[in-house]
Amino acid sequence: MKRYILERVAYSLLVMWAVATLVFFMMRAIPGDPVRAMVGFEADPQTVAQIRHNLGLDQPFIVQYLRWLLSISQLDLGNSIWNQQPVTILLWEALPRTLSLASLSFSIAVALGIPAGIVSAVRRYSLSDHVFTVVAFLGLSMPDFWLGILLIILFATKLQWLPAFGYEPISVGIWPWLSHLILPAFTAGTAFSAILARMTRSALLEVLREDYVRTARAKGLKEQIVILKHALRNALIPVLTVMGIAFALLLAGSVIAENVFAIKGVGRLLIESILNRDFPVVQGTILVIASIFVFMNLFVDILYALVNPKIRYVE
């Protein structure tokens, strides 16, 4: 177990290094002069030379690369070209918003998806199964940004129940925070929720055929206990594996939702910096998003090992 975890941690660090290296090389593979691309062709040569020097672009390639690795290991991601602010500070301000959004949509998706999957499996081919199937299919086929737009039109404009844009920190109050996040969280979480529902359904159907479920029923246990204690626990193992992949989907959804609902999170920062050609911010944001993914994958791998005895006992 310990060895397995250490291996996963080492692998994650390796992936982070690979991503950092890729980002470094790709930023230098940009066609044309990145400094010119950033400041435009009208800028005077002195400014260009100054920026080039500030970014360390006048140094030899290998020196640039080592300096890049050194500075990111010290959490120094450089300064924004637009407002000169350190990229780490920009990210530090954006992260809580993205994490709030992602965790809320995760909770919503789990709260909707797993029960829907259970009902679908237990009452297979019933009306509720069919309804959930159609809803899941729609959820997977619907562009998430469009869902966001529909939610704005319905709940913010027509019904005026919830705000359409922006973000309030939790320190202002639970309701202002929550009310700004409900619509974006639905937007980001729908696809994830649909996948969870489908996965839970098929995994549970598989498990319900097993002998130990039949035994549990034969013992005269209540159906509820058979489902929840015996079947569901085993059914959730494969669901957990997709959660890793699907959580990535959730974060991708957050990038979209932040842009639809004008929440200044990491995803919005990424898109804005791309549009502004603010490369230090692009670079830093990609790295941070990548590390969130790597960390999540690691987390799910370890969780999976804890839940699944087949891995737990291999030593």
Binding site: F137, M142, F145, T157, I245, I256
Partner: protein
């Protein structure tokens, strides 16, 4: 590898022997279209897709107005003159959506064809030659696998810049790993089949074995993946355009129409509703067909979580 050829007739013999060996794999394919037509959802999907393809091809004849002509009738709600209303510049929304189908389908199909061609080649080579080639390809695929396709596409657009060509390159590269991974897995299994050993025994070259024996047998899951990927590519292009990272603002695409309409969602609901409906209809239709194919070809459902 492959033994040197001594006699002239070997080519013919080779071909004959192989044709027999290949027969079982071929049989399943001919009946696929016929069986697909028994699946009601697949028929519905194919019908919708056929309609959209025709609309895209004949857009100039079908669209009631020119998609870029501005008029004085701004932000009109749906009416008989403008069935889906007009936008803030007085352009007819229906016409813009009809023309928008061109870019969506074009991007969806070209990116998936390119990604499949590249990914399948990578997977074939990695699975067939193994060793360091395999290791190299797999490390790359694993790396890409850790991130959602959409995020990769956004990252690539950040580097290449916006515009139609760059969007196609970005989506292609983002989807490549899916095809490589599937093909490699198939090749690893097929490589050990008897008919491959038999082909090798009759002196078929590596190239011949790869292209005539292994490739055709990897195609079922690739086709299923390809179908599903088209819908994800269309969603991806729409999302990129919606974020302002897609094609040039002069070309109407579904994502771009929605992006342009952002300031007016609260006042002109039709601008927010109809373009998205078009995207969903196409994606839904493709998913119907994809599901039908998946059932027919008995391909495992492990790809659902990728987008």
């Amino acid at each position: 590898m492959g033994t040197p050829r001594a006699f002239g007739f070997e080519e013919g013999f080779d071909g004959l022997a192989e044709a027999r060996l290949r027969a079982p794999a071929r049989r399943g394919w001919g009946t696929v279209p016929r069986r697909l037509l028994r699946d009601r959802r697949a028929i519905l999907g194919l019908t919708i897709l056929g309609g959209v393809v025709l609309t895209a091809v004949f857009a100039p004849w079908i669209a009631p107005y020119d998609p870029s002509t501005q008029g004085p009738e701004m932000l009109l709600p749906p009416s008989l003159q403008h069935p889906l209303g007009t936008d803030d510049l007085g352009r007819d929304l229906l016409s813009r959506i009809i023309f928008g189908s061109r870019i969506s389908l074009f991007v969806g199909i070209t990116t998936v064809l390119l990604a499949a061609a590249l990914g399948v080649s990578l997977g074939l080579v990695a699975g067939f030659y193994g060793r360091w080639v395999d290791m190299l390809v797999m490390r790359y695929i694993d790396l890409q696998w850790a991130f959602p396709n959409f995020i990769i596409a956004v990252g690539l657009v950040a580097i290449f810049g916006t515009g139609l060509a760059n969007v196609i390159v970005a989506i292609t590269l983002a989807f490549l790993d899916d095809f490589a991974r599937i093909t490699r897995g198939m090749v690893l299994a097929i490589r050990e089949e008897e008919y491959v050993a038999a082909a090798r025994a009759v002196g078929a070259s590596d190239r011949r074995i790869l292209l005539r024996h292994i490739l055709p047998n990897t195609l079922s899951p690739v086709i299923v993946q390809g179908t599903v990927s088209i819908s994800y590519a269309i969603l991806g292009e729409a999302a990129l355009s919606f974020l302002g990272l897609g094609v040039k603002p002069t070309t109407p695409t579904w994502g771009l129409i929605l992006n342009d309409a952002r300031p007016f969602f609260t006042t002109a609901w039709w601008l927010g509703v109809f373009p998205g409906l078009a995207i969903m209809l196409v994606v839904l239709a493709i998913n119907f067909v994809g599901d039908g194919l998946r059932d027919l070809m008995d391909v495992k459902e492990y790809q659902e979580a990728r987008r």
